[in-house]
Structures are given as C-alpha cells and as structure tokens.
C-alpha cells in the first residue's frame, strides 16, 4: 500500500471539510499555468513545456510519413503516448507504459482526435502516403493533474508545430513547408470529488485524497470525458462539471492561443 497516500488522505479530507485547500486556492481555481512554446524547436517540429503549479510536463511533436489506415485512406494519422519518467516521482519506474500512463495518453488523445483539431484531410500526400503526427508527452515533475498539464502541453505544441518539407519521396530534415494545419484548440479540464465537494485542478495530495475524478475535454462541444477513481458522481455533479469545464476551457484556450 501507499503509505504517503494513506496518511495524506485524512489531512486533505479534513481541510476540504473546512472549505480549504492546502495551497489556499478556491475550489474552482487553477494553479498558475506557464507555457514555454518551442522549448526544443531546434529539433522537434513542435514542442511546449508546461508548468501547472509545480507539475512540469513537456510535449514534443514528431512528424513522419507513413501509410494511412485502410478504412481512412485519405486521412493523416496521429498517435499519442505518455511517458511517466522516473525523474518525475519516487513512484515511477522505467519500463513499458503502465495503466496510469496509458490512461493519461488516451484521454488526451481522445480530446484532440475527436475535436478534429488536426485537419487530417490536409495531411494527405499521395496515394498510400500521409503525414503521421506523433505527440509524445514527457512528464518531468508530477505534482498532480497530469491530464490537464499534458493536454495543454500537447495542443500548444501542435499549435506551434511546422510541417516538414517533402520532396522527391523523402523528408528534408530541418526544413519546413509551413504550419501543421489545425482547426481548433481542445482543452481538458479535470476535477476531483472529495467528500461532497468538487475541486478543480487537483494537486498530488488532493489526488491521494480524492474519491473520484472527472475529466472533460471541450472545444465548442464536449469531445472527451473520463471518470476515474473508486467513488461515484451524481447527476448534478456531472452537469455542474460540464459547465465548469466549458468555462475554464475557455479561459485556458484564450491563454494558449493568445487572443
């Protein structure tokens, strides 16, 4: 069992009962978000380092050419992975992806894919050849809420990503033909339920103390949702969470796109 989580649980639950959070935030307040776009731009076509409070996550975009899926021969391909690097937490170990990293990657992937944010039709090159976009999310410091930090990093990196130059059947390294075509800015918003309160953007201790978690990724519609944890939500809590995700998503989107 996780001793740290076990000990922190009571502390967090008692705080929330008094209407408080350990870092003094309001229940509907995000930690400070700092974006560093193009963090690895000398090599990666797109990249972004995100700090969400003390959580530090980097997303890098790699773009290659490859075969389309047989059922969508004219669409580009995207793939999202998350690596919980051992540098980020004493609990992380090197090795193949575990269920936590797979869940983070898949929830972020769904938000981007289902919103149609990447214009897949424009990633067609010629018959049986399309652009393949890899989103790699690298967790450097885990202080809670990896889905939101990773999701913000991923879409920011995509927004500054460039499409490599393609000539005579091969990619020309380090040269670009333009921007990666994007049509939207999906933003995930994660909330946790502790006792009967809903808290946005959980810290690591609040994740230890949570009963259940709900992530909602929005553009102008809802694009992805994921409930986690062993607890449950009632209907009102879910509907309130949807409204909250729209409102916070809008604020964060404005910050990412700068308008």
């Amino acid at each position: 069992m996780e001793i740290e989580a076990y000990l922190k649980k009571d502390y967090i639950k008692n705080l929330v009962k008094e209407g408080k959070r350990e870092d003094g935030r309001a229940f509907d307040e995000y930690r400070k978000i700092i974006l560093d776009n193009g963090y690895a731009k000398e090599k990666a076509p797109g990249s972004c380092m995100v700090q969400l409070g003390k959580t530090k996550v980097m997303a890098g975009i790699s773009i290659d050419i490859g075969e389309p899926y047989s059922d969508r021969p004219e669409d580009g391909v995207m793939s999202t992975s998350t690596e919980l690097r051992p540098i980020a937490s004493p609990k992380f170990e090197s090795g193949p992806p575990n269920e936590e990293s797979i869940e983070v990657a898949r929830v972020i992937d769904r938000g981007i894919r289902e919103s149609g944010a990447i214009d897949m039709k424009k990633l067609f090159i010629e018959e049986d050849l399309v652009w393949v976009v890899f989103i790699d999310i690298h967790v450097m410091d885990h202080s809670g809420n990896l889905i939101d930090a990773g999701g913000i990093a991923a879409i920011s990196a995509l927004l500054n990503a460039r499409l490599p130059k393609y000539e005579d059947g091969k990619i020309i390294c380090g040269e670009y033909s333009g921007k990666l075509p994007l049509t939207g800015t999906p933003v995930p918003c994660t909330m946790v339920k502790i006792n009967d309160s809903i808290l946005i953007d959980p810290s690591i201790d609040e994740e230890y103390g949570m009963d259940a978690r709900l992530t909602i990724s929005t553009t102008d519609t809802i694009n992805a949702m994921q409930k986690g944890g062993n607890g449950s939500f009632n209907e009102k809590e879910v509907m309130d969470a949807v409204d909250m995700a729209y409102a916070k998503g809008k604020e964060i989107r404005r910050m990412i796109t700068g308008d």
Binding site: R72, I102, E103, K227, S232, E235
Partner: protein, 251 residues
C-alpha cells in the same frame, strides 16, 4: 468514433438499422454460475456480444508489498479474444484493453465491500468472445453478476449501458455500425440504488444539452439492465433452493 460519416444511413424513419427505436436496448440474456472452477461467474449475450466473466478470490495477494492492510484490492482484466472481432486481434493486452480494465476495476470497487477482506485480492476476468460494440458495458454488467454469484458482499450491483449520437439523433445502446459511423459514444455504468455514475467515458462531439439527454437515456438503459440482473440472480437462487418457475428473463 470516426467523426460521423453522413453517407452511411443508420436511421430510416424512426427506426435504426436493426429495427430498434431510439430508446430500445438490444436483446440481452444473462446467466450466472456458468464456470466450475471460478468462485463466481456469469455469461451475457448482449446483441451480438458474447462475454463470459469469472471471479477468483478474495485470495492472498502477491507480491506482498502490494497488500493493503485496510482493504482488498480489486483487479480486472478485460480481454478481447483474437477471433472476437472482424480482423484478428493480436493476443495480449493493448492500450485500449488496459484502459478498459482500469475503469472497470474502479467501477466495481465502488460497490464491493473491500474493507472486509484486508490484504487480499479479488480478481475479475472478463473474456470477450464476440464483440459488437458495448463490450465494456456487457462485461461490467456480467462482472457484477459474477461477483454476486461468488457471494462477495456488495452494496449494490453495477449496471452498465451506453448512449450516443447517430445521424444527429441521441440513441441508447450503440451497435457496431452506429459506433463506427456515429458521432458520439457515451458508455456509462451506475450504482442503481443511488443513481450515481461509476463509469463514464465519452468520445465524439456533443453539445451540453445533447449530453444531458444522452446521460438520461444511458441511466434509463442501466435501470432496465439492473432489473434483468436482479431477475437473473433471483432465478439462480430459486433454482438453488429448488423453487419451480424461476423468473423468466428477457427484454
């Protein structure tokens, strides 16, 4: 979800491809105690889905450092058989099944009285033999029956059902074609007595109001599934004590 192809006709008049109305579930059949060696087991036919679930435990958990002196651990393995889908699926866990296993284990943990069995593990094995969309809902529905069949104390059953959007229409319990060419899939599972959601995933495009409607339809679907679950357990108990005429189950 593939973004909603409009050239595939999924709704004609007020009927879906298989003749169902928008709020109609596929035919569902359930049975418990179908395996000899497992502590508890259940089999479910849900449309073209065929899923069998076996439960082992509570039993000793190894390696020992995983043991929790305050409660049992509940593990779930969701496995698609290679022959269960159109194109052979490579055996073994892929990213999708790892994620489904995780959310199903969390959903079941909300009802099982884990604190009664410290240091142990309860293993739930979900084997999908034929898949036609909605396998996690079918698996979870059968899993809670198998847990009950194993006599493991629970606060309630977990009942699952999906809703979604097909050609602009909110419908319940998507079948394969609707899942492939629809605009949204919303699998859900609830604790029926509290009417609280324990599994909720969604992908596609839904407005706030559409989500509200889909949520209600999924909950209604779950309640229908719950009635069938209770009848199935009652039937098996009646059979066990020798009462004739167990409750007929069906849609």
């Amino acid at each position: 979800m593939s973004g909603g192809d409009n050239d595939v006709v999924l709704i004609k008049g007020n009927k879906r491809l298989d003749g169902r109305g928008f709020d109609e579930l596929r035919d569902i059949k359930m049975e418990v105690s179908v395996l000899e060696r497992a502590e508890g087991s259940a089999y479910i036919e849900w449309g073209k889905n065929r899923v069998i679930v076996g439960v082992y435990g509570p039993r000793e958990l190894h390696p020992k450092f995983l043991q929790d002196p305050t409660r049992a651990m509940l593990r779930c393995v969701y496995n698609l058989a290679p022959f269960s889908v159109d194109e052979r699926k490579k055996p073994g866990p892929d990213r999708r099944s790892v994620e489904i296993s995780k959310v199903c284990a969390e959903a079941l943990s909300s009802v099982v009285m884990l604190e009664r069995f410290p240091n142990t593990v309860i293993d739930v094995y979900v084997e999908v033999l034929q898949a036609d969309a909605g396998t996690r809902c079918a698996g979870l529905t059968a899993a809670s029956l198998a847990l009950a069949d194993a006599g493991i104390p629970m606060k309630d059953l977990v009942a699952a059902c999906s809703a979604g959007k097909v050609q602009g229409q909110i419908v319940v319990d998507l079948m394969k074609e609707e899942d492939n060419f629809g605009q949204c899939d919303l699998p859900m599972a609830i604790i029926p007595r509290k009417s609280e959601v324990v599994l909720l995933q969604m992908d596609g495009k839904l407005s706030r109001d559409e989500f509200k409607q889909a949520y209600k339809m999924a909950v209604d679907g779950c309640m229908k599934v719950y009635e069938m679950q209770k009848n199935t357990l009652l039937g098996s108990m009646n059979k066990f004590v020798g009462v004739e005429g167990g409750v007929e189950n069906g849609d």
